[in-house]
């Protein structure tokens, strides 16, 4: 017997941004529950709006499958004494709750055993679900959780009703103190309360009658259709925005699109500002013409069936008008002074109490940017770089940035463009805060890259110099994010770089501080490489050979990743671990490698290794310097036979000091040579 299963968790409005993950988690949890419980089903669908999380299984078996299970007792050999059941056998039967007569002999790999067969499973699906669902829902996680009655029970928002039906019958269960029933709830304003439903089709139909489109796909389609319709009606096309679309799909239970208009004088505002006002603040879509020019219309998604008397459109227009009027006022006022003039005011804006003002920061950025430009070969002309850096922070003094802090940089770039700065200059200012995250893209202009690198490195070094170092989850100044952005930019643009040289020339950190910062930076590098799919031991091996330049580290880790599975490489990794241990032990004993050696008792295998090291050492150095890490690794793998023979025949820790020293020195040379490519002893084999 198969039946249909429906669960609706009725909640107060769940944040739209959390919905997608919530539905996925719920669906996956359900499939796991059904599979683990041996309940056959065709598929698990999840649907939902901000006010409901819904699971639908069209065809679910009524009963768990049954399985035969064998329970074994004592071996046959000790099961009977004088033809009577032994104490061991009787004890087993008693514990298992079966009679001795029910036991029989089972032939197993380990011999004959006494035991019995029984059937397990066969429990009702509704029983399993009523036990399993509460735990599954309790284990869901959201970006921000709350409690409403019991501090031990958290969810994203209060749960207010639950529908749980198997084939039309209520599954008895309780979620956060709310008992499941058959009653759902309609649209807050247009729908009824306590809507009785008997099954999934009935549920969908009745909710639609009560102005709830439960299926997100249905809502998305309705929104997309109406957006298109209204954009075309106004002679344009919608400015697509997938993230915004998902947000309005989940905020609204019965979405409809309403088109509004704004005064065309606001089109004086740069597109970026207009779209930010519409999108970020009001969740409106913009409309553009065939050439991509903004039109003075917007499309709002409302949570109701229609705008009966035009008040909704008027309301949205009012809100947008007030916002745009503010923005336009700021845009005009902010143009009254040039970025160069505004720069003077930066002395009064504190960057960090101990690190001075933004004026002080600019003074540091100029030389830093110049040396980064040189080091990376970015090739930004000095006069361009001077303008880019010099005007980069002036927008902090504008009202627009006060109003739209997230547009810092973008606004500076737009103001520079209006002042007539060259594209190279304004774009660099415009994109200086990119990448905002690892998902964001790096600046496209080299000016933007150099400025962004200099700015972030200055912040990083400055914060380390005053001890403002991230601990645990605390990173109020976003130093992890900044460091990741630095690494990402260097990798994206394939730029040569040396963190040590930067730290040396900055001079603010002493040796200890530099090491601490390098450790922090290596952690971020590890994180980024790990995210790119490299194994932690590959990353450790590559970083073991130095982390100064992310591009170099990436090349090394790629080369290592390609060859690590080859048998020679596996053997070399083992040999290197051995070499590293020997060297560590001798160092621990305080044995120096300094001192004379001679060629006494030089055996063939030692001689062979020496010749090999003489040949390979310069070759590996040359290949590493040229970034030819793959070939260097091939060379390294090629020495396997010689190294194996050496370790088979030669005792390194010879009792004679001179011989021992000679052999240790040879191994050290080999180790150091290969360390330019990777610390292969880190590779887990």
């Amino acid at each position: 017997m198969k039946g249909e299963f429906l669960l609706e968790i009725g909640s107060e409005e769940i944040p739209a941004r959390a919905m997608d993950k919530a539905l996925n988690d719920l669906g996956a949890g359900f499939e796991e529950l059904l599979t683990e419980s041996d309940l056959e089903f065709d598929q698990v669908r999840t649907l939902g709006t901000a006010r409901r999380l819904v699971v639908h299984v069209p065809s679910l078996t009524e009963r768990q499958k049954t399985r035969k299970v064998t329970t074994l007792g004592p071996p046959n050999s000790i099961a009977f004494e004088d033809g009577k059941p032994s104490r061991a056998l009787e004890g087993f039967a008693r514990k298992a709750g079966v009679g001795v007569d029910d036991l029989s002999v089972f032939d197993t790999e380990r011999g004959e055993y006494m035991g019995f067969e029984s059937e397990v499973g066969g429990r009702m699906a509704s029983e399993i679900l009523s036990e399993g669902i509460p735990g599954l829902v309790r284990n869901m996680s959201f970006p921000k959780m709350m409690y409403w009655t019991d501090p031990g029970q958290r969810f994203v928002r209060p749960i207010r009703w639950v529908v749980a039906l198997f084939d039309g019958t209520v599954i008895p269960l309780e979620l956060y103190g709310v008992s499941a029933g058959t009653a759902s709830d309609g649209h807050r304003v247009l729908g009824s309360r306590a809507i009785r439903v008997s099954g999934f089709d009935d549920y969908l139909r009745k909710l639609e009658q009560n102005y709830v489109l439960v299926a997100q796909d249905a809502r998305r389609q309705k929104i997309e259709f109406e957006l298109e319709r209204d954009a075309v009606a106004h002679g344009g096309r919608i400015i697509a925005d997938a993230a915004l679309l998902e947000e309005v799909v989940f905020i609204n239970e019965f979405p409809s699109v309403v088109a509004g208009e704004f005064d065309s004088r606001f089109l004086e505002l740069p597109r970026e500002i207009l779209i930010t006002v519409m999108r970020v603040h009001l969740k409106y879509f913009g409309v553009e013409d065939a050439d991509g020019a903004l039109l003075p219309y917007f499309l709002a998604v409302m949570n109701t069936k229609e705008d009966v008397n035009g008040r909704i459109r008027k309301g949205h227009e009012r809100v947008l008008r007030a916002r745009l009027a503010d923005a336009l006022f700021f845009w005009e006022v902010d143009g009254k002074k040039t970025l160069e003039e505004r720069r003077e005011g930066l002395g009064t804006v504190v960057f960090q109490k101990e690190l001075g003002s933004y004026s002080d920061k600019l003074a540091r950025l100029l030389p830093m940017a110049a040396s980064i430009d040189e080091m990376t070969g970015a090739g930004v002309a000095p006069d361009v770089l001077a303008d880019v850096v010099g005007w980069s922070k002036s927008d902090l003094m504008t009202d627009l940035v006060g109003e739209f802090p997230n547009m810092q940089g973008v606004i500076g770039g737009l103001l520079a463009r209006r002042e007539g700065a060259s594209e190279e200059v304004w774009r660099a200012i415009y994109e200086q805060y990119r990448p905002a995250s690892l998902e964001d893209s790096s600046p496209r202009t080299m000016g933007g890259v150099v400025l962004s690198l200099a700015d972030r490195l200055d912040t990083l070094i400055g914060c380390f110099s005053i001890g403002a170092v991230p601990t645990g989850s605390e990173d109020p100044l976003g130093l992890r994010r900044h460091t990741q952005a630095v690494i990402k930019m260097l990798l994206d643009h394939d730029l040569p770089f040396s963190m040590r040289v930067i730290l040396e020339s900055d001079r603010r950190l002493d040796r200890e501080g530099q090491e601490r910062l390098l450790g922090f930076y290596e952690d971020r590098l590890r994180f980024i490489l790990g995210r790119a799919g490299f194994a932690y031991d590959e990353i450790n091996a590559a970083i073991g050979a130095g982390s100064d330049s992310p591009v170099d580290v990436q090349r090394r880790v790629e080369a290592l990743h390609d060859v690590r599975e080859s048998p020679d490489m596996v053997a070399i990794a083992g040999a290197f671990k051995r070499i590293k241990n020997i060297l560590l032990q001798s160092a621990k004993k305080g044995e120096g490698l300094d001192g004379d050696t001679d060629r006494r008792e030089m055996e063939a295998e030692e001689q062979a290794l020496e010749e090999l090291v003489d040949r390979v050492e310069p070759l590996v150095a040359e290949l590493a310097a040229a970034g030819e890490y793959r070939r260097a690794l091939d060379e390294m793998a090629g020495i396997r036979a010689t190294v194996d023979a050496f370790f088979d025949r030669i005792l390194v820790m010879h009792e004679d000091d001179v011989i021992r020293r000679r052999r240790l020195k040879l191994l050290k040379r080999l180790f150091d040579s290969f360390l330019e490519v990777a610390d292969v002893s880190e590779v887990v084999v």
């Binding site: 928002r157 304003v189 709002a300 947008l320 109490k353």
Partner: protein
């Protein structure tokens, strides 16, 4: 609708739903949440329902009376329902009807907006409510106040009265709102907007403000040592207002900010704990007797447990 009709309609609505109708607090505050009828009443186990209008000062939002939308001082109507009933959102929607809004003709949304007042050690989860795109209310389930977890939690509803009335009357300039049939909002309030903007942005003496901050902080500590939490709380509110003015002037850097906030937060934490202890001493008079005695017993057990823990720790430290 006039400004005072709006106030009366909402106060009447909530008065009929068992709220104590309170008056604004007589110390300057930045938001209705800082009124002791919210900050203190949400603490501890006693149920409470209250509504009041609170003029709220935001020095940084002052615009000398020139901006049609921004005010240094605006009016919040604040409602606390402790504990929140299960249908609190529907009751809220009814309150919109009481203002003459026909719900089915509008686009009403509850959009995620969580609330935090770092100085007050307070956090909550909730929404902003929008009416045809205009944000008309904040709706928050309090989770913590003064650094203490709340049980029961409170539901807080805050109406921005000026903004709502501008929408209802389709008025684009706040100063054009009718306060009553005879006098406009601008006639009553415009001059104070000018004077206080000038004061906060130009004349407030920064050094004196820092000194006053120190003085009120010291006074609050002194009062806390004497277990007078209400008077200590007033002094914390003074600190908060002084901080807001200094902040509006850009006189506080990012790092200082964190530090100054932490100073007031620790005072407000002591106020919160002291208030709950005071209510415990009174045996939670707003609870029915049986529940009150249960809570008193529970508090006694908690105190015992934590003193045991302390002793254990102390012994461990001694032996270790």
């Amino acid at each position: 609708m006039t400004f005072q009709q709006l106030m009366l309609a909402l106060m009447d609505f909530w008065g009929r739903r068992s709220c104590v109708l309170q008056q604004p607090y007589d110390v300057e505050v930045g938001a209705g949440t800082m009124h002791p009828e919210t900050f203190l009443r949400v603490l501890g186990p006693e149920p409470y329902r209250v509504a009041y209008i609170q003029p709220s000062r935001r020095p940084a939002d002052g615009r000398y009376g020139d901006n049609p939308n921004r005010l240094e001082k605006h009016h919040q109507l604040q409602v606390i329902l402790k504990p929140p009933p299960a249908d609190i959102q529907m009751i809220y929607l009814e309150s919109l009807t009481a203002m003459g809004i026909k719900l089915e003709e509008h686009d009403i949304k509850f959009e995620e907006d969580n609330w935090e007042w770092p100085m007050g050690g307070a956090t909550g989860v909730g929404w902003q409510v929008t009416l045809d795109g205009e944000e008309i209310s904040q709706f928050t389930y309090f989770q913590q106040t003064g650094g203490l977890d709340l049980l029961p939690i409170s539901g807080e509803i805050t109406y921005g009265l000026e903004r709502i009335l501008m929408y209802l009357n389709d008025v684009e300039n706040v100063y054009d709102l009718p306060w009553n049939e005879h006098v406009s909002y601008g006639e009553i309030r415009r001059r104070d907007e000018f004077e206080f903007s000038k004061y906060y942005f130009e004349l407030a003496d920064i050094d004196r403000y820092f000194r006053l901050f120190d003085e009120h902080e010291a006074e609050a500590k002194h009062l806390l040592d004497e277990n007078l939490v209400l008077a200590a709380y007033d002094n914390c509110l003074k600190c908060s207002q002084l901080f807001n003015v200094l902040d509006a002037r850009g006189a506080i850097s990012v790092t200082e900010r964190v530090h100054v906030i932490a100073r007031v937060r620790s005072l407000l934490g002591r106020v919160a704990r002291g208030y709950v202890e005071g209510r415990l001493e009174l045996e939670f008079p707003l609870l029915d007797r049986e529940a009150a005695l249960r809570e008193v017993e529970r508090a006694r057990q908690r105190a015992e447990q934590s003193s045991k823990k302390r002793n254990k720790k102390r012994n461990k430290e001694r032996t270790g």
